[in-house]
């Protein structure tokens, strides 16, 4: 197997008429996925996009997923862009990627025409039903390598510009295989998808669905604000498997939802992205005593998740759920600052080795060279590892436990954010003289301190145009003066201390 679409091609022979993806009032069977993706692939192939980027700028919908497959049919790789992304960020992504083609839908057509000045804009409805050219598609596939890129997804960059993580087919196949065996997916699996389609998080529902002939229900985003409706959705759709960010699970349990309604069919719960408060975690366990719970950990740069821990014991508040051990065919090295390996009980930076390590950052050799480096424990042949920036150690059971970050990267509502990126975007505004961003770990709030001749309301409105929703500071605090350290840098620690004490 050297192409991710082989999952689909095998499954369609077995269950052609089963529903693969549903959401937004639309359903695709596996047969329809093949047909529509081949139509799109043929249109794209005529534009010679093999090994080139194609942007998919659509709302979260099964049409977006089938467009991904269409891009892959053409031997190209997809760049998912979310309908709700602010224009500024879309423009940045389009300029840095320079895709040949952008596929859009009703919700994005107008914007796409405005923003995509250098790319051809194709409208999904125009291309989804055209005849497929089997010979052309077969020829493209015959030349496909498993080291060719499959997608580029953008992740926060501390200097203010997002980085495009580029992953190949082989990494995703490796990930789908090991994730599936760890969580026990099967043809009976019905996924309730929470993850946005524009991050690597989409892989864990979308591609096991192709592999097994399972079904994925796309959950409308707004349901994650209204827990009872969310549970009703899971029950109506008989969802039995949820791989969600911790903040989505916590929202349900913290509001006492289980007193009113419980998910009736869920037997597999996986979570990641953040630390799960034991109180909330235990509420889920109590509500679903027969379900399995697995903590997942991993950076976008290693395709998806790299480590797992299936909960096998009781946890009391104050304890931390470990991130466990690496997936099969992945190794996590704990490297100390001096480049040697940490011993058991010693902290070290988690460095990932394996097929799941992605190709690097798109058109960004400097940033790639900083994080994708030669294994310091190997001086005998070229061997790239990915330095995560996460500090961890092994506990007495031999399980990896996350300790801290090396830098100012935070996790907020499941999203990975560099505080430096927020600062860089804000400091670009003319009215802003100085800026510093801190994260209130207790209340999970991003707090922005600034000096500048601009009212909070005006600043808030401006920021909404410049950064994605999940990056927006939750609190804006104007200052007259900024505190500095002895070395002349903004005293971030002092600001944070003051904030935490003041509240």
């Amino acid at each position: 197997m050297n192409n991710i679409l082989e999952y689909l091609e095998k499954t369609v022979k077995e269950v052609p008429d089963k529903t693969a993806f549903k959401g937004g009032g639309t359903e695709y069977t596996f047969r329809q996925l093949v047909d529509v993706s081949r139509s799109i692939g043929t249109v794209l192939a005529a534009r010679d996009v093999r090994k080139k980027p194609v942007a998919v700028y659509m709302k979260k919908h099964p049409d977006m997923i089938v467009s991904f497959f269409g891009v892959l049919q053409a031997g190209a790789f997809y760049i998912p862009i979310d309908e709700e992304m602010p224009a500024h960020r879309i423009q940045y992504i389009l300029e840095s990627i320079a895709p040949e083609v952008v596929i859009c839908d009703d919700s994005t057509l107008e914007n796409a025409k405005k923003l995509c000045t250098k790319s051809e804009v194709l409208y999904f409805k125009d291309i989804c039903g055209l005849p497929a050219d089997d010979a052309v598609l077969a020829e493209i596939r015959s030349r496909a390598l498993d080291i060719d890129p499959m997608y580029v997804v953008f992740t926060s960059g501390s200097t203010g510009t997002p980085k495009g993580v580029t992953a190949c087919h082989r990494s995703v196949i490796d990930y789908v295989e090991t994730l599936s065996e760890t969580l026990g997916f099967s043809r009976d699996t019905i996924f309730g998808n929470q993850a946005p389609l524009y991050f690597d998080a989409h892989l864990k529902d979308v591609y096991p669905t192709l592999k097994f002939g399972s079904t994925t229900c796309l959950i409308p985003k707004e349901l994650f604000m209204f827990p009872v409706k969310l549970m009703e959705f899971l029950n109506e759709n008989r969802v039995n498997t949820i791989c969600w960010v911790v903040s989505a699970l916590s929202m349900v349990s913290a509001f006492g939802t289980f007193k009113t309604i419980k998910p009736e069919y869920v037997h597999t719960v996986a979570f990641g992205g953040e630390v799960f408060q034991i109180k909330q975690f235990n509420a889920w366990r109590e509500a679903l005593p027969g379900a399995s719970f697995t903590n997942l950990y991993g950076p976008t740069e290693a395709t998806g998740f790299s480590c797992w821990y299936k909960v096998d014991r009781e946890f009391v508040p104050g304890e931390v759920i470990p991130i466990g051990r690496p997936f099969r065919n992945t190794e996590v090295l704990l490297i100390k600052e001096d480049g040697t390996e940490a011993k058991d009980g010693e902290p070290g930076e988690m460095c990932i080795r394996g097929t799941a390590v992605t190709l690097g950052y798109f058109r960004n050799p400097e940033k790639t060279a900083e994080s994708f480096v030669q294994n310091p424990l190997n001086d005998s042949w070229p061997e790239i590892i990915y330095k995560t920036g996460d500090i961890a150690m092994k506990n007495e059971r031999g399980e990896l436990v996350f300790l801290s970050r090396k830098d100012y990267q935070i996790k907020h509502m499941g999203h990975r954010i560099e505080l430096g990126e927020i600062e860089a975007i804000v400091s670009n505004l003319d009215a802003i003289k100085s800026v510093c961003c801190i994260f209130d770990d207790e209340r999970k709030k991003i707090v922005l301190y600034y000096i500048g001749d601009i009212e909070k309301g005006e600043l808030s409105a401006k920021l909404k145009e410049l950064m994605p929703r999940y990056m927006l500071p939750n609190s804006l605090i104007p200052l007259d003066t900024m505190p500095f350290t002895a070395t002349g840098k903004i005293d971030r620690n002092l600001l944070k201390k003051r904030y935490m004490e003041g509240k």
Partner: protein, 75 residues
């Protein structure tokens, strides 16, 4: 009502909460906001909003949300 307005304005200083009646429908509030509002109402006013009251109708306007708070305070 003032406490509620302070909580809302802190989250979105650019929004006119006196007049807006489509806070949910127009995606002005997101899930983080809903969590913050409920948590803050609980800690500042000692009001617990039960899960079955966390529905779009109750969060579309400051007025509707305040009516819910008053209803819960009376209970």
């Amino acid at each position: 009502m003032e406490t509620l307005m302070d909580i809302l304005t802190e989250l979105h200083p650019d929004v006119d909460f006196d007049s807006c009646e489509t806070l949910v429908d127009d995606k002005i509030l997101d899930s983080f906001d809903i969590i913050t509002i409920i948590t803050e109402l609980n800690s500042q006013l000692d009001v617990t909003i039960p899960a079955d009251k966390i529905v779009p109708e109750n969060f579309n306007s400051a007025k509707a949300l305040w009516a819910l708070v008053e209803e819960l305070q009376d209970e």
